[in-house]
């Protein structure tokens, strides 16, 4: 469909909110070059910063886009491919469609996600799949897969959907979560702090907070996730309930082993 190849790294961040498949569909390359984006607070045209070609079969961003924000924000449908790193807010508020990032993404990616799929081949920054600041109604559906590591407060206030981190997730993953599932191969401390419901599966973590009570040893019983991550989720896990620092909490954390790292 369309490839947007970054000409040079901008001094101030570019903000490409609204540049999604449905917006570029049916436009000529010249029309796309004239579409407005923001550089800092200044309005510029896509053509000022991107070479626009009709290569590829989806909307493709190419180059080192670590200073390009809001790629695929509010996506409802269609596909976006990012060949390189992306900045903050990738796929924020997305409801459908699919975003694949070959590099890494910065903070607030898939913020308040309501549906669709985000795949990150590299690492993700803080607040991946978290709720918007202040909101107690976070990610409600959809799927996030990160092949590398993810930052702090991943899935904060999550209510539904799936987040998979094949590498290491930083502290406070699933903080305040009320539903949905998070899997991480390794997790730093304080997973599931103040969680009310939902499940977190960790192959290893140094320790859990004192609000988690050991229940029994078992295999995690989340079928959908097992299908997705057969190789990584294997064997018996220690099931904990919590976080009992909260009244009426019904969260579950499965931990295969406790190791410091």
């Amino acid at each position: 469909m369309v490839t947007l190849r970054l000409k040079r790294t901008p001094d101030l961040c570019l903000d490409v909110e609204g540049i999604i498949p449905e917006a570029v569909q049916g436009k000529t390359l010249e029309e796309i070059e004239k579409m407005e984006i923001l550089n800092g607070s200044r309005k510029v045209n896509i053509g000022d910063y991107f070479d626009v070609t009709d290569e590829g079969n989806s909307l493709i961003f190419e180059g080192d886009l670590s200073k390009v924000k809001r790629i695929g924000m509010n996506l409802r449908d269609g596909e976006i491919l990012v060949k390189g790193n992306a900045g903050m807010y990738v796929g924020a508020f997305m409801r459908g469609g699919k975003i694949t990032v070959e590099g890494s993404v910065d903070a607030f990616s898939a913020l308040n996600m309501k549906g669709g799929e985000l795949i990150v081949r590299g690492n993700a920054g803080d607040y991946l799949g978290a709720s918007y600041r202040g909101d107690w109604r976070g990610m409600s559906s959809g799927k996030i897969l990160v092949e590398g590591d993810a930052g702090k407060e991943t899935g904060c206030f999550m209510c539904g959907g799936v987040i998979i981190i094949r590498g290491t997730v930083d502290s406070y993953c699933g903080v305040k979560m009320k539903g949905g599932t998070i899997f991480a191969n390794k997790a730093r401390t304080r997973a599931g702090a103040s969680m009310m419901a939902g499940s977190i599966i960790l192959n290893s973590t140094p320790e859990l907070l004192p609000g988690f009570f050991f229940e029994r040893k078992m295999e995690p019983e989340i079928e959908k996730l097992l299908e997705l991550e057969k190789e990584l989720i294997e064997g018996e896990y220690h099931l904990f309930s919590g976080d009992h620092a909260e009244r009426g909490a019904k969260g579950k954390i499965y931990v295969r082993e406790f190791i410091s790292f």
């Binding site: 918007y132 600041r133 202040g134 909101d135 107690w136």
Partner: protein, 555 residues
């Protein structure tokens, strides 16, 4: 500047004008009888013309308002506007920022608003925020409810000193009227208790809520303040609290009105109109409360609830805490030293909840059952819903069809309220009363605000709807027309034209400046030295801190 608005259909209840086609003449910011030559003319043929709206109770500036903004960044996602055409940017749906607050009021044709609960210690903050709210005129009511000076003088039955302190605090805070919230209750809250009834004593102070109310009303009357005591009573929001409300209204039955206005204003009365003894038996007793109001010399504002997500903020700390224990959403409490203890927590009024449906209906019942010269429209912004939703409320008051349609969503409205049995629909005259004339009169400002007679401030709203061809079943049209004014004039200048703000002016902040006897000074010195975290000299808000402060007197 001279201007004539020609051929509008005018509703001006304070001058008895009910839908007459007439011209309004404006000169130098005031309304005049006639202009012979040199005036600009604007034809507003077949459009609705009313005085600018007057909001007597809307939490738009101050300590807890700002706490609301800080604790709800997600609220800013729902409403924001960028800087353009010389206007400032702003954000916030239930807790809008200062500039946006001014613009949104003007957009609805409102030109005056009161922030009704200013903790005295936060007076400086409040005034600096009010300075930043453009165009509209403003006032702030300082809180006297859990105040140690007040309770001390009431306990000592020293009415002169009480009056002296009331006057001193109005001057110190540049306040306009006496506000009382949950009298005694916020002091009790410091001991994890509350005051649920007018005759319950406040811990460690030998006074009851009734004594606080009565004595402050007397002080207010003898000081001849423009507005009466503005009261948020005890036991807000609880099942069965209507009995407390009835007793509260009766606290003033032996006090005669001397100042050509009510002796007590009861605010957001909807929240005090509940029957039942638990959330399961919760129902509306708005009819009984309305009957009592109609008998006594009081004015009220409704405090309507509208369905949706909003932020609650009151100086009633225990109430906010109990709300938080129900919703378990985020919550902030502030302890303001010797004065009060406000709280803030978000709330979602749900159509599915029988309790919320009863609250929704009870507020509308009050508006329909109370004499139309006593009622004032509010949502206790943002507690029942943001002020930007007044047009929806007006449409509900004006259209039985609209109410019936709403009522289908929850059968609690039929089973637990009397709303469906009321056929009354307010007309534009009555709407002008409850949004213009009554609040101006209740605040003692009826000479300059809330009407279109000679010498009134030329604060005028023109709406693109012909009231003479009005059909109450077309409620969407009413709502739409009142949401965005065709013209808003402030002090005779066009500030909004066809829905767009065209001029930004600084609004006034009115305050009162009653005489103070120096006998108060020893007590002030002692209490500030012993108990306050600030010194007396830093407490007093200076005149020049108000960008456009104006002292208001009854004469």
């Amino acid at each position: 500047m001279k201007l004539i608005l020609k051929n509008g259909i005018v509703y001006d209840p304070l001058n008895g004008i009910n839908g007459e086609r007439m011209d309004i003449c404006i000169k130098d910011g005031r309304i005049v009888d006639k202009i012979w030559f040199g005036a600009r003319k604007i034809d507003v043929r077949n459009k609705l013309v009313m005085p600018g709206g007057f909001d007597l109770h809307s939490h738009i500036a101050g300590g807890k308002e700002n706490v609301g903004r800080m604790m709800r960044p997600e609220d800013s996602l729902r409403r924001f506007s960028v800087r353009k055409n010389g206007l400032r940017s702003g954000s916030g749906y239930s807790v809008p920022s200062t500039f946006l607050t001014g613009y949104e009021y003007v957009k609805m044709g409102y030109t005056t608003a009161v922030t009704p609960a200013m903790p005295p210690l936060y007076a400086r903050h409040t005034h600096h925020e009010l300075n930043d709210i453009p165009i509209i005129d403003k006032m702030a009511f300082p809180l006297y409810d859990g105040n140690w000076f007040v309770m001390k003088y009431v306990a000592e039955k020293d009415i002169d000193m009480l009056q002296n302190y009331v006057a001193w605090l109005l001057r110190a805070t540049k306040g306009f009227a006496v506000k009382i919230v949950n009298p005694g209750g916020t002091e009790a809250w410091g001991w994890r208790r509350n005051v649920k009834d007018v005759d319950e004593a406040v811990p460690h102070f030998n006074v009851t809520s009734r004594e606080i109310i009565e004595n402050l009303v007397k002080a207010c009357e003898s000081l001849k303040l423009p507005h009466s005591v503005h009261l948020h009573g005890n036991d807000l929001g609880s099942p069965g609290n209507f009995e407390t409300a009835l007793k509260t209204i009766d606290t003033i039955k032996h006090i005669d009105a001397k100042n050509n206005r009510q002796v007590l204003h009861l605010t957001h009365l909807q929240f005090f109109s509940y029957g039942g003894d638990s959330w399961k038996t919760f129902d509306s007793r708005a009819d009984e409360v309305a009957k009592k109001v109609n008998k006594r010399d009081v004015t009220i504002d409704t405090g309507n609830v509208l369905f949706g997500d909003t932020t609650t903020m009151t100086a009633d700390g225990p109430l906010e805490y109990s709300l938080h224990t129900i919703t378990r959403l985020k919550w902030v409490n502030r302890d303001v030293e010797l004065e009060t203890s406000p709280g803030v927590t978000p709330v979602i009024y749900s159509k599915k909840s029988p309790v919320n449906a009863v609250q929704w209906a009870a507020g509308i019942e009050l508006a329909l059952l109370i004499d139309s010269d006593k009622v004032i429209l509010t949502t206790d912004h943002p507690n029942g819903g943001p002020f930007t939703r007044y047009p929806e409320l007006i449409a509900l008051f004006m259209s039985k069809k609209y109410r019936d349609k709403y009522s289908e969503m929850n059968n609690a409205i039929e089973r637990r309220t009397g709303l469906l049995t009321i056929d009354r629909e307010l007309d534009f005259y009555e709407i002008a009363q409850i949004t213009r004339a009554n609040p101006a009169k209740s605040a003692g400002m009826e000479k300059i605000k809330g009407h279109l007679g000679v010498n009134a401030h030329a604060d005028i709203a023109v709406y693109d709807i012909n009231p003479l061809e009005f059909d109450s079943s077309d409620y969407e049209k009413i709502e739409k027309a009142l949401s965005t004014a065709f013209l808003t004039l402030k002090d005779g200048e066009i500030v909004l034209k066809e829905g767009k703000i065209v001029k930004e002016t600084p609004g006034r902040t009115y305050w009162v400046n009653p005489d103070v006897d120096s006998a108060i000074e020893p007590d002030l010195n002692e209490y500030f030295r012993k108990y306050y975290s600030v010194s007396l000299s830093n407490y007093f808000v200076q005149k020049d801190e108000l960008v456009r402060g104006e002292i208001f007197t009854l004469n």
